[in-house]
């Protein structure tokens, strides 16, 4: 009995070392060797300073930047150390009210009439709260506002958006989308 228990304990230790220490360390080593950028978080640097991760959305509030999706991660949204969705259910009054409020805000800042259609991703919180993308429709909707704020011709901004659309991966997977951080970086470059 004691011997069996001992065997069990030893097995657990051996397996812990194998799968809990050796395996993750091996993956870390190999990842750092072959894919150091990705393993480190696909960071984007500007002027040598990291400004964020290409994969993680960040908060954009000003009229001169394209806005990402509403985020409920952390207190103010886009807290990349506190990923979270809203978890509001489909029959939640709070959801309906929040979406209505966001709709009004989107319409106001973009100068749209009341009742104008707004793509869902601009008024609904993402699952992670860190969604880096918006739909092309959501980006196009913001073009006039951004152009006005930046004093750029709308066409130029529109074609910038066009160039920043990521198509379906391998032509079939996922949805067409625009990475907001990358778009805004390009936008900054354009304005400079």
């Amino acid at each position: 009995m004691t011997r069996k228990l001992l065997t069990t304990a030893r097995m657990l230790v051996v397996m812990t070392v194998l799968t809990g220490i050796l395996y993750p360390l091996a993956v870390t080593g190999l990842a750092q060797m072959f894919f150091p950028r990705q393993a480190g978080g696909s960071l984007i640097a500007r002027d040598g300073q990291p400004v964020g991760s290409a994969l993680i959305g960040q908060s954009f509030m000003g009229p001169g930047y394209f806005h990402g999706r509403p985020s409920v991660a952390g207190k103010d949204g886009y807290d990349a150390a506190a990923s979270s969705g809203s978890n509001l259910g489909p029959t939640s009054k709070e959801l309906v009210a929040t979406v209505a409020k966001r709709l009004a805000a989107v319409r106001t800042v973009n100068g749209l009439p009341a009742g104008a259609p707004v793509p869902a991703d601009l008024v609904t919180a993402s699952a992670s709260g860190l969604d880096p993308d918006i739909s092309p429709e959501a980006a196009y909707l913001q073009v006039p506002r951004v152009a006005r704020a930046r004093n750029l011709p709308e066409d130029k901004v529109r074609s910038l958006v066009e160039r920043n659309i990521t198509g379906r991966q391998l032509g079939i997977l996922g949805e067409p989308r625009v990475n907001v951080l990358k778009l805004n970086l390009e936008l900054d470059k354009l304005s400079r």
């Binding site: 657990l12 750092q32 978080g41 990349a80 609904t124 919180a125 079939i172």
Partner: protein, 570 residues
């Protein structure tokens, strides 16, 4: 319409790739567990021997079912104790750059039970609770061990069904070690690197703070994610490194990783049906089960996708355009891949999510719940899905087989009192756990206080939590605040009961079936290799499994859907 076509194409691609991968993997696993030669032997055989020597496992002596079950139980509970202790002591253990302190006892118990039972329910938020050491040495380890335990059980059951007049059903240590060395570790290693190449992070750095374009500060959580991500999916564990799980861009950055993650969830459960067919000596015995799983899966997926695609009319009325059900979903995945992932992760007892299930449309949320209530048998967890399905096979054979005028038999073995007792227990125990647990929660303040969404959806949150716990799924209607002593303890117990309340009867069945003689099949035998059987199995799963929960579901998601269509909100 073009969008729908692309959606269907993606789903078809997923299923085609699944079968393409599962068949060779299944054959390979059959070789592994039959002790035949494999191409990895030159590397792994010495490693296997080393492990046995280090652990003091003396020989490959076979065990009877009681011994097998006892060894499994002790090993699992010792593992659970280890996970508990590591959480409680993480403050003084290494690899803790964020200096997280000890996890509170009730949460630590819940998490320990959760990871040991392959549930991976997370009442905590990973990036703000667990140190890297806890994530690796406690959680990743149990990701492997709980998955290997599931595989071991189904392999033991398979042997029990295949053998004749035998006393033993295999050696637990061997089954455990071989499933880790030959199956889980190599696949995880490979998959982890593919994930990293797509952007999943893998480092031991402290969290990184950057200054954003607008001048704000953003702290990026870091960690050894890819290594855990790989086994999280391959082992149908589902416990995310981060709170947002596979919706988090560092866990699931691209549509390609999303596809691969879904494949990773299904490939071993699907492959095991092939393994099973091979090991019982008739590959059709495996394919009919696979077909029944596929049938149920496609039905489930149809409802989820249909409902999510239809969306939320209340929001549409406000002027929201495009797919309205985007709350809790990521743009890169959209409706199709979120629906597919939700169906996959709850069909298998994985529980990883790439969208917030709490925000799914009512019918879109009903199906995940139902799949868990059915006992996680549509592919199901690694091992657990197939052994759960085999319990339903036994029930089907018994109910329907009687109709051909013979004492029901499966693989030539008579289904008698003992098997029925055990099969009934294996179905009854998780069902009772879900019903009693949710009933208790719905009736008490401690239960209802945690509800986020009022109205029928609140009931759904409770039902989902217990279905997820007892079904060892681990996904959540995450609005429910589960990190309370009540839920931590109640769900922790639900997970333990749901896991071992099935494993023990299943091993007992393995033992009693192994001892039986087998009647050679003839024209008078009820065939379990026909398409008809596939349909019957699916029907029994639906009728026996679902009827139990219909009243509860009617008050939860069913009525909510009707209310949503009527424009009501709570």
């Amino acid at each position: 319409m073009a969008a729908i076509n692309t959606d269907i194409l993606q789903i078809a691609l997923f299923l085609a790739l699944l079968l393409f991968l599962a068949v060779p993997l299944g054959r390979y696993m059959a070789r592994v567990f039959s002790g035949e030669r494999t191409f990895l032997d030159p590397v792994l055989k010495p490693l296997e021997r080393l492990i046995y020597r280090l652990a003091g496992v003396s020989d490959g002596r076979e065990m009877n079912w009681r011994e097998y079950a006892a060894t499994l139980l002790v090993f699992n509970f010792l593992g659970m104790v280890a996970v508990y202790l590591i959480q409680r002591l993480q403050g003084v253990l290494p690899f803790n750059p964020q200096h997280f302190s000890a996890v509170p006892p009730d949460l630590a118990f819940n998490t320990a039970a959760s990871f040991m039972t392959n549930t991976n329910w997370q009442a905590y938020s990973g990036e703000s609770t667990m140190s890297y050491f806890t994530q690796m040495a406690a959680l990743t380890v149990q990701n492997f061990l709980s998955a290997a335990t599931g595989i071991a059980v189904v392999v033991a059951l398979t042997r029990g069904l295949a053998r004749r007049s035998a006393k033993t059903i295999g050696n637990f240590w061997e089954d455990l070690t071989r499933s880790i060395l030959w199956v889980l570790l190599p696949l995880s290693l490979l998959f982890a690197l593919v994930l990293v190449s797509q952007g999943v992070i893998q480092n031991l750095s402290p969290y990184l703070t950057v200054t954003t374009l607008e001048g704000g500060r953003q702290t990026l959580a870091m960690g050894p994610v890819a290594s855990q991500e790989a086994i999280k999916l391959l082992g149908t564990n589902g416990g995310g490194f981060f709170n947002a799980n596979s919706a988090h861009p560092f866990e699931n950055p691209t549509p390609l990783t999303n596809l691969l993650e879904m494949l990773a969830i299904f490939v071993i459960p699907a492959g095991l049906t092939i393994t099973y067919g091979r090991m019982v000596g008739n590959h059709r015995q495996g394919t009919v089960i696979l077909a029944a799983m596929l049938l149920l899966f496609v039905l489930a997926l149809g409802v989820v996708y249909g409902s999510e695609h239809y969306g939320n009319p209340t929001l549409r009325a406000l002027g929201v355009s495009g797919p309205t059900a985007m709350e809790g979903k990521e743009v890169r995945f959209g409706i199709a891949n979120s629906s597919l992932f939700a169906t996959v992760t709850t069909a298998a007892s994985c529980g990883a999510v790439n969208a917030m299930h709490d925000s799914l449309t009512p019918l879109g949320g009903l199906i995940p719940m139902l799949q868990m209530m059915l006992g996680e048998v549509v592919f199901g967890g690694v091992g657990s899905g197939l052994y759960g399905m085999l319990v339903f096979v036994i029930l089907t054979v018994f109910i329907v087989g009687l109709m051909v005028g013979r004492t029901p038999e499966y693989l030539g073995k008579k289904i008698e009192t003992r098997e029925m007792k055990m099969a009934t227990l294996a179905v009854l125990i998780p069902a009772a756990t879900i019903l009693l647990g949710s009933g208790l929660a719905a009736a008490t303040r401690a239960g209802t206080a945690s509800i986020l969404n009022p109205g029928p959806h609140g009931l759904s949150e409770i039902l989902y939590a217990f279905a997820s716990g007892a079904g060892n799924n681990g996904s959540a209607f995450a609005g429910l605040n589960a990190n309370t002593p009540f839920y931590n303890i109640a769900l922790g117990l639900a997970m333990l009961i749901g896991r071992f309340g099935v494993i023990l009867p299943v091993l007992a069945i393995a033992g009693s079936m192994a001892a039986k003689k087998a009647v050679p099949p003839g024209p008078g035998t009820f065939q379990t290799t026909s398409l008809l059987f596939t349909g019957l199995l699916a029907a029994v799963v639906l009728i026996v499994g679902a009827l139990t929960f219909l009243p509860a579901l009617a008050l939860g998601p069913v009525v909510e859907q009707l209310l949503m269509l009527a424009g009501k909100a709570f």
